[in-house]
């Protein structure tokens, strides 16, 4: 019956469309009203006349009469504004009189009545005031300051919007905002009481007064509030996001939601907060859960007496942080899923499915194919402690011609020996025993491999005896550079993220050694970068900078030189502005490397931040066309992926931008795009990315094809994805003649079946909230090495492939009981649903299936307990989760 588009949407922000619809009636109210009057029902007509009468009376000289009129007017409005599906009738009928009332208001003397009228005008302004006038706010401030909620939700929302505008105006004018804040407090209290936490948070963010939130949260709404805070933090610029998360941390801590508080503390990389969590939580069992969370993040963290008074307990906790039980848990999962049986590379290649195309004449060993088999074997059987190539022969009579190690050529033997470390991943005792045999070898390559293997086996595991340091330290100064590289890289892997000063003291002198060959220096820089990842350590930075400056002109052209800036960049991984001083220094470098260095530093510093401006900066760099392939565009393209991988939206945008680069970019960009795609969707085989990569894997340019093939492996890493496996199988027959491409295909096959499908390479964990810096660092090193595939991976430095070990984690949910023994409970596993800001208690997963733990979690999966019998000690069911018996649980009859 109302032909006017209703303007219930005239909320805070108020768009221009509202304005136009609002103005229409006020221009020519008479005519419209005349027309309408005929349409009105009797009831409405009566109301209309009634209100007109009130308006008239309100302007009466008699204060008594005035009061009555205003009171009744208010009554009418209040009773009708509780719901706002259309413009309430009283408001509609009062609209024509807004002007009259306003002008009358100006003539009134100060009195309670004036305030009363002011209130009414404030409400009327909700639909009447022109855009930008903020009259609702104006009259509200002049009004009686009564209960704000009595005028209805819509009014409060509109007011909030106007406050935001007014606030920014006043801040610009440097005027006082005290009266506004007072109002804000009322509004926030109202919102928080009425399940409108997002609105409250939004308003507080607008007026930059989030601290107020802490006062208003209670047991019922703190979870929704914090969820909104943490999710919105992703989209906030500069220091704002940190302060938002700080508030969330405070709230979580206040309500003893310690695991969540700990996660935010980890996100903020604030060790002080982490410590606070430990000190403020009295419960030992919960502390154990904290330790599991810390261990997953790959953080090296020392507990002190303050955090846990009892020595024995502290030792138990420290053991969890040191990841000593990771191997055990992983094997529990493997046994449960029944994949303990070792797999040979042939089981992965499945050549029998490719009839007619399997390469003939297997009589002669191909060194390259054997090397590929070595890697595939290592990745597929990673962490299982048994395989069909490396470990079997050692049990049988050793040294026979059947020994797989010696089926590899020269430097290939290094990778083969190191693969033992991968097979015994995380199981330090067995791994070292296996590797020790090769320490007595007189073959330098075997030695180097054994040293690297020690690093791999210790990756992410800390041991009080520091076996890696003890074993490797003696080999750092050996004559042979492959042995040195083995030891240096081993240390880098074993102590990644620990900021161990002993390592620094041992490695930094190598950087300054004028006699050290370039490859040794390059790997030293990487190792230091890994150990001090994201630490912004000045001393290490200085050492690498000097090493870079000392390089001769010809050295700078070498493919391995790219690892030096990368080592420098890793020091600032995710540290944003902290890189500036170093970036400034890098501008003084030789111009051959200057731009490359700049891009690498920037991409590392903003990795995982989702900073849109930086993504645009990198895109801008890629838009330039050069006659001769400039190398700096490689890290720029990778930079897009590194920055944008932080959250889903930015990630999708980056994928689209990369498509453009593919179309318009030069060869040096095109060959990097697949790698960037690989990083964006790592262990997360999105179908459209899979298709793009599949297309590129047949590209005429072999470098593009190689990168695409490897990236197919990366996006499917540890998923056993059948589609990618099929694609790779077909590629293996397509490229059967091209040894280099076939090598890449094999490696990719190894990636896809990594850990027989129990592992993930994703550096993000805890529902994609936390980023493990060491994991990302490992991936970035691998990808940078892939920028010059021919010289590094297809050359003699193929062992850089083992840097992925830093990112390898079981993609499992393993529930344990209070004694940390595995406990099988039913859980629902399904696709995670974004519930931020949704009303009520929405389901957090969809399309779920019920399994019993331990279970595998795919990318984007979320689990929830399907039983009430236990209570998880962490809200996020990933990795190790301790279950406590639910005291309120009653067995159903």
């Amino acid at each position: 019956m109302d032909p006017e588009p209703n303007n219930k949407t005239a909320s805070g922000t108020g768009n221009p469309k509202d304005e136009s619809t609002l103005k229409a009636p006020s221009k020519d109210p008479k005519k419209k009203d005349d027309k309408k009057e005929e349409d009105l029902s009797e009831e409405d007509l009566a109301l209309k006349h009634q209100l007109e009468l009130y308006v008239e009376r309100a302007q009466d000289a008699d204060p008594g009469l005035q009061k009555v009129a205003l009171e009744s007017m208010r009554q009418e409005i209040r009773t009708s504004t509780s719901s706002m599906t259309s413009v309430p009738k009283p408001l509609k009928f009062l609209r024509p009189h807004y002007g009259t009332l306003k002008s009358y208001y100006e003539t009134m003397a100060d009195s309670d009545l004036k305030k009363l009228l002011s209130d009414i005008l404030s409400v009327l302004a909700l639909t009447m005031s022109a855009e930008g006038d903020r009259e609702s706010l104006k009259y509200r401030l002049l009004g009686s300051e009564g209960d704000i909620g009595s005028w209805g939700h819509e009014y409060v929302r509109n007011l909030a919007g106007e406050i935001a505008q007014e606030y920014s105006k006043r801040v610009n004018e440097e005027a006082s905002v005290d009266d506004l804040i007072e109002l804000v407090e009322q509004i926030v209290a109202f919102h928080m009481k009425h399940n409108a936490e997002p609105e409250a948070v939004d308003l507080l963010m607008e007026v930059e007064f989030l601290d107020l939130l802490v006062k208003h949260v209670d047991k019922t709404n703190y979870k929704r509030t914090c969820l909104y805070l943490t999710s919105s933090a992703r989209y906030l610029p500069g220091p704002d996001d940190m302060s938002v998360l700080d508030i969330a941390y405070t709230i979580y801590k206040q309500f003893e939601e310690y695991p969540s508080a700990l996660q935010i503390a980890l996100y903020l990389d604030n060790m002080q907060h982490v410590k606070q969590v430990f000190t403020s939580c009295p419960d030992l069992l919960r502390k154990k859960q904290f330790c599991y969370i810390l261990a997953r993040q790959g953080l090296s963290f020392e507990l002190d007496e303050e955090m846990c008074a009892d020595d024995e307990d502290r030792e138990a906790l420290q053991e969890i942080i040191n990841n000593t039980k990771l191997s055990e848990g992983y094997l529990t999962l493997a046994r449960d899923i029944e994949v303990m049986e070792p797999k040979s590379p042939e089981d992965i290649y499945k050549a029998h499915l490719l009839d007619g195309r399997a390469s003939a004449g297997a009589s002669v060993d191909s060194a390259r194919q054997n090397l590929a088999a070595t890697f595939v074997n290592a990745f597929v059987n990673a962490g299982f402690g048994q395989d069909k190539l490396m470990t079997v022969t050692s049990e049988a009579s050793s040294g026979g011609s059947s020994n797989w190690l010696f089926k590899n050529k020269d430097h290939g033997k290094a990778s083969a020996a190191a693969s033992l470390g991968m097979i015994d991943l995380w199981d330090v005792d067995t791994g070292l025993a296996q590797l020790d045999k090769y320490f007595h070898s007189n073959d330098n390559h075997v030695m180097a491999g054994a040293l690297l293997g020690v690093g791999i086996v210790n990756c992410g595991i800390k041991n009080d005896c520091d076996p890696a340091l003890a074993l490797l330290a003696d080999y750092l100064d050996k004559e042979d550079s492959s042995i040195r590289i083995g030891a240096i890289t081993g240390l880098g892997l074993a102590y990644a993220g620990t900021q161990n000063e002993q390592i620094r003291d041992k490695l930094t002198p190598i950087l300054g050694d004028p006699k050290a060959p370039l490859d040794v220096i390059a790997f030293t820089a990487i190792a230091l970068g890994l150990v001090y990842v994201g630490s912004c350590n000045e001393e290490v930075a200085q050492a690498i900078i000097f090493a870079l400056m000392d390089r001769s002109e010809s050295d700078l052209g070498e493919p391995l030189t790219r690892l030096l800036p990368l080592g420098l960049g890793l020091l600032y991984l995710g540290k944003q502005d902290n890189v500036e001083a170093t970036a400034e220094v890098s501008k003084t470098f030789n111009e051959k490397i200057r731009k490359y260095c700049d891009m690498t530093l920037l991409s590392c510093a903003y990795a995982g931040t989702g900073n849109v401006l930086k993504v645009q900066h990198f895109l801008g760099q890629c838009a330039q066309h050069f006659e001769k392939g400039e190398t700096f565009q490689g890290p720029a393209v990778l930079g897009i992926a590194m920055v944008a991988m932080a959250e889903e939206l930015g990630l999708d945008m980056a994928i689209r931008s990369l498509e453009h680069l593919l179309q318009y970019g030069e060869q040096n960009i095109r060959k990097t795009v697949p790698l960037a795609l690989g990083l964006l969707c790592i262990s997360n085989p999105k179908v459209h990315v899979m298709d793009t990569l599949s297309r590129l894997s047949h590209d005429a340019d072999s470098e593009v094809a190689m990168a695409a093939v490897l990236s197919l492996g990366l996006i499917g890493a540890g998923t056993n994805n059948a589609r990618i496996a099929g694609m790779l199988r077909n590629l293996s027959s397509y490229y059967y003649k091209e040894a280099s491409l076939l090598f890449c295909v094999r490696i990719a096959q190894g990636f896809v079946h990594m850990g027989k499908g129990l592992l993930t390479l994703a550096p993000y964990h805890s529902e994609r909230f936390l980023l493990s810096p060491t994991a990302l660092a490992g991936l970035v090193v691998l990808l940078h090495a892939c920028l010059d595939m021919k010289a590094i991976i297809l050359g003699k430095y193929h062992y850089v492939m083992y840097f992925v070990v830093l990112a390898m984690q079981p993609r499992m949910l393993l529930t344990v009981n209070e004694n940390l023994k595995p406990l099988s409970v039913p859980v629902r596993v399904g696709q995670a649903v974004d519930v931020v800001g949704q009303a009520g208690r929405p389901k957090t997963i969809t399309g779920f299936q019920t399994h019993s733990t331990p279970v595998l979690l795919a990318a984007g999966d979320r689990a929830e307990l399907a039983t009430e019998k236990y209570v998880p000690l962490s809200p996020i069911l990933e990795g190790f989760v301790i279950l406590k018996e639910n005291p309120d649980y009653r067995e159903e009859a």
């Binding site: 004449g361 009589s363 002669v364 005896c465 076996p467």
Partner: protein
């Protein structure tokens, strides 16, 4: 004297006493007793690295009850094998061929795919290769012209090159000589060489080779090419009008498969091709009349070449147009019913033996499956007796080549070994490709410089009926049985 616990591999040795007055070597000997790891191989982790034999206990700060970790292996040390494996990458190129499993491709020198595919097909005939190897470099017989001699030498050299290389070969020399000998292949169109009919190329090369390989010394088997590819035909020429009848014999190098509306299969086409009508002057009638010529095969070659007559001269478009009709051809061809009665008689005995042997093989297999492992050994050796007596499997004899030529018998059964296909709408355009069965039984598609492995079932799909590659020339190899 502090007591420590020592962890070695998965085992824990509690309560090991350290005598701090003695050198750490003594402690290592203690551990040797426990673990069996020789002291020199023991690596014990202590503060600041590995425990050295001459370290000072007091400086290491060993505490009571401390856990030490020892690494070391009691087993034998892994030694490198004396002789390392040989890697394909290290082999000289000739030997890599063996590993790759097929010979090299040929570069296209500008519309020379007709020549490349022809040469690839001929290259697959080992007997031709061995005959060429014996061909003398210089001594050309008088009745052979210089260009034929050069072409033969070039063919020999090209086959050699193909066998030696893994990477594609550029047949420059061969092509120059071919153009010299047959100038029609040097036709230019718009400044580039024209595409030619592969069948013409095939025929001309074979003709030249047959001239050149006619060995002057031995009088008997003088023509190797004829022996390998020649098909003896006996034809009855009959005139319906006059009732005249005469017999003719001739030798051809290929059978023609005529394609008409009724022809769906190679066999029908061959039958069609053996019947022809010709018009000639009849001596009895005194005017020219139609004679029916009905040919039968009287002598079989080792390699049976079959040409699909897919091209005919289309006057209106002035080019050789192509018949796209699908004509199926088998992997195993039996031409018994195309043979003359004489030949049939001769073939009967070998064919019976072939059937017997096939039957025996099948029967043997059955037997092997049924009998238990204990007595199967006896029966196996029993069964082997007659089979070795009558000869080895046909495949083995095939490989022996010309030397054992005398004592093998043809059976009239042929196996497909090479297919030359054409893709396109006319003989002088489109693309020629050779599909050749290798000695290891794998099929390779030689698309100029690019050899691609193919599956056997895809080979029979080249039978036409679309725009895909379709068979133009098929080469079958005789299945023989030793006598």
């Amino acid at each position: 004297m502090p007591t420590v616990s020592v962890k070695w591999q998965k085992e824990l040795y509690p309560a090991v006493e350290i005598d701090t007055t003695q050198s750490p070597y003594v402690f290592k000997c203690q551990l040797y007793d426990l673990t069996g790891v020789p002291p020199e191989r023991q690596k014990i982790m202590v503060k600041g690295g590995i425990l050295k034999d001459d370290s000072d206990w007091s400086k290491l700060g060993i505490k009571e009850g401390q856990k030490l970790m020892m690494v070391g292996t009691a087993d034998e040390i892994v030694k490198a094998p004396e002789k390392g494996p040989v890697f394909m990458e290290d082999l000289p190129e000739e030997e890599q061929v063996v590993a790759v499993g097929h010979s090299a491709g040929l570069f296209n020198l500008g519309n020379t795919c007709y020549m490349n595919s022809t040469m690839q097909c001929l290259h697959s005939v080992p007997e031709l290769k061995s005959a060429l190897i014996e061909y003398p470099q210089s001594g050309r017989s008088n009745d052979l012209d210089q260009s034929s001699h050069l072409l033969t030498v070039a063919t020999r050299d090209l086959f050699n090159e193909l066998d030696k290389n893994v990477k594609p070969v550029a047949p420059m020399q061969f092509w120059m000589v071919l153009r010299k000998k047959y100038p029609q292949f040097g036709q230019l169109h718009n400044g580039s060489f024209m595409q030619q009919d592969a069948e013409e190329c095939w025929t001309q090369i074979l003709y030249t080779l047959s001239q050149a390989l006619r060995s002057p010394s031995t009088s008997a088997n003088l023509d190797t090419v004829k022996e390998l590819f020649g098909i003896d035909l006996v034809s009855r020429v009959h005139c319906a009008e006059s009732g005249e009848e005469s017999m003719e014999t001739e030798t051809v190098y290929s059978l023609k498969c005529h394609i008409s509306h009724e022809v769906n299969h190679l066999h029908e086409g061959l039958k069609h091709g053996l019947k022809s009508e010709l018009e000639k002057a009849s001596p009895s009638l005194g005017h020219s009349t139609v004679y029916l010529k009905d040919s039968r095969i009287n002598g079989l070659p080792k390699y049976l070449t079959i040409q699909f007559v897919r091209f005919f001269w289309k006057r209106e478009s002035n080019q050789k147009a192509k018949i796209l009709r699908k004509v199926d051809y088998p992997l195993e061809l039996d031409i018994f019913d195309l043979c003359s009665d004489d030949l049939r008689k001769k073939l009967e005995a070998p064919r019976q033996m072939l059937r017997d042997e096939d039957g025996r093989k099948a029967g043997l297999k059955l037997k092997q499956k049924n009998t238990s492992s204990v007595d199967s050994d006896v029966k196996m050796s029993d069964a082997e007796g007659p089979s070795t007596g009558s000869g080895e499997s046909s495949k083995a004899t095939l490989g022996e080549g010309v030397a054992s030529d005398k004592n093998v018998q043809l059976t009239g059964v042929y196996d497909l070994v090479a297919v030359l296909t054409h893709k396109g709408r006319s003989a002088d355009s489109g693309h020629y490709v050779a599909w050749v069965k290798q000695e290891n039984g794998k099929w390779i598609q030689f698309d100029d410089d690019n050899p691609i492995p193919q599956r056997e079932e895809d080979i029979t799909k080249l039978s036409g009926g679309g725009d895909w590659h379709m068979a133009y020339i098929c080469m079958y190899k005789a299945r023989t049985i030793p006598m």
